[in-house]
């Protein structure tokens, strides 16, 4: 074997090995990260009661209630199965709103309310101006009937 072929083989094997390692890492990232607990896990008492953890899900439509002090906000986080009441005092991020993804860090109180120290909002892949987004929404609700009609 010529030295150049040998080196080519060596570099090829190295890159192949790195590829396998990357695949394993990505698979692990997608299945194993306990970045947050879902409301179902909290209701099932899988989340710790004595230390800080994160809860993640969607803010339930119509559940956001500003308290009389003007700074505290109560809302429910849901995963479409269970819901957990969250209380937060402070300034909410801009993308926080009904039916938006949210991650809150804090402790679970004795009363079953989650007292958050930090509330993070999520964004999504849609980058549309408001009027286009509104038409898209109506188009989406219209599709089932038209789809049936064309089939």
């Amino acid at each position: 074997m010529r030295p150049r072929t040998k080196r080519l083989l060596f570099v090829g094997l190295a890159i192949g090995g790195v590829g396998v390692a990357a695949t394993l890492a990505i698979t692990a990232l997608q299945s194993n990260i306990s970045y947050f607990f879902s409301p179902s896990q909290v209701i099932a008492a899988e989340a710790p009661t004595d230390r800080v953890f994160r809860i993640g899900g969607m803010v339930e439509e119509g559940s956001i209630a500003r308290q009389p002090d003007g700074l505290t906000v109560l809302f429910s986080v849901t995963d479409n199965a269970e819901r957990v009441q969250v209380s937060y005092t402070g300034i909410l991020p801009d993308l926080f709103g009904a039916d938006q993804g949210v991650v809150a860090r804090g402790r679970l109180g004795q009363d079953g309310v989650f007292y958050a120290e930090e509330v993070l909002a999520k964004h999504d892949e849609s980058y549309m101006p408001p009027e286009v987004a509104a038409t898209l929404k109506t188009a989406q609700t219209d599709t089932p009937t038209t789809a049936v009609a064309t089939q």
Binding site: R4, R7, L8, F10, V11, A14, I15, V18, G19, A21, A22, T23, A25, I26, L29, Q30, I33, S34, Y35, F36, S38, G56, G57, M58, T78, D79, N80, L92, P93, D94, L95, F96, G97, D99, Q100, G101, V103, E118, V119, L120, A121, K122, H123, D124, E125, S126, Y127, M128, P129, P130, E131, V132, A133, A134, L136, K137
Partner: protein, 252 residues
């Protein structure tokens, strides 16, 4: 006419070509970035709606996303030149790798920095240990590690080989960054970043982002070739053609 392309693998022959390429790519970069910024600032909606109602600050994506793309792409280029250098023992490939690394590090830093500025108003935090942020930070350290390892070894040829191995091992980071968020259900997603989809972007926003990406790409070419010229002169300082060039410059 048959051109012998391998001629340009010799630093002495590539040096003048690189000088010419720098000016071409610099002009292209300046034009694309100017058009991209104008389009991004004046021809796009000022607020977003629907499920992602961001305000004016969403315009950071015109710098953030192209910079993040370039940070990953330049790492592939860096590792590619390192692999070619290891296999064929060509000096110019190692010089290319060394010329690309600082630009890649700059774009990685830019992606992290603009991301932090955007994350504060939208997510509510400058930094979070989300998988994509963490792996991008590791990529930044890999670039710094490559540059540091290369400059820590005095013998240039050994420095080239050691740093090349580090670059190839670090390749693991790029697919991890790229696929760290492919989770379709937002209630299950273990990340603040969401999967991206170019088809769900308004056409003006998409165009200005792609033009900026093209501009950053051209800038990378220009910066890498300019740096390469310096590296060639430095490493070939003892050769006849560099001495000749130096006396010619001195006489002028």
């Amino acid at each position: 006419m048959k051109v012998n392309w391998f001629k340009f693998a010799a630093p002495a022959n590539f040096y003048p070509v690189a000088g010419w390429l720098v000016s071409v790519f610099a002009v292209l970069a300046a034009a694309a970035i100017l058009i991209g910024l104008y389009w991004g600032f004046f021809e796009t909606p000022s607020v977003l709606g629907g499920t992602n109602p961001q305000k004016e600050y969403y315009r950071i994506i015109f710098i953030h996303v192209p910079a993040a793309w370039m940070s990953m792409w330049l790492y592939l280029v860096l590792a590619g030149w390192c692999a070619i250098g290891l296999v064929f023992n060509t000096r110019l490939s190692y010089m290319m790798a060394a010329a690309v690394a600082p630009t890649g590090a700059i774009f990685t830093f830019l992606a992290l920095w603009t991301g932090a500025l955007w994350g504060r108003p939208s997510w509510g935090t400058y930094w979070d240990w989300d998988p994509r942020l963490t792996s991008e930070l590791i990529l930044f350290f890999l670039y710094l590690g490559y540059i540091a390892l290369h400059s820590a070894i005095d013998d240039t040829r050994r420095a080239d080989k050691a740093a090349a191995l580090l670059a190839i091992v670090g390749l693991i980071c790029v697919p991890v960054i790229f696929w760290s968020i492919n989770c379709p259900d937002p209630t299950q997603c273990a990340a603040l970043h969401q999967r991206s989809s170019l088809s769900q972007m308004e056409s003006n926003i998409l165009s200005s982002m792609l033009i900026m990406a093209f501009g950053f790409w051209m800038y990378s070419f220009a910066a890498a070739f300019a740096r390469l010229r310096g590296i060639i002169l430095e490493r070939e300082a003892d050769t006849a053609w560099v001495q000749e060039l130096a006396t010619k410059e001195a006489r002028r």
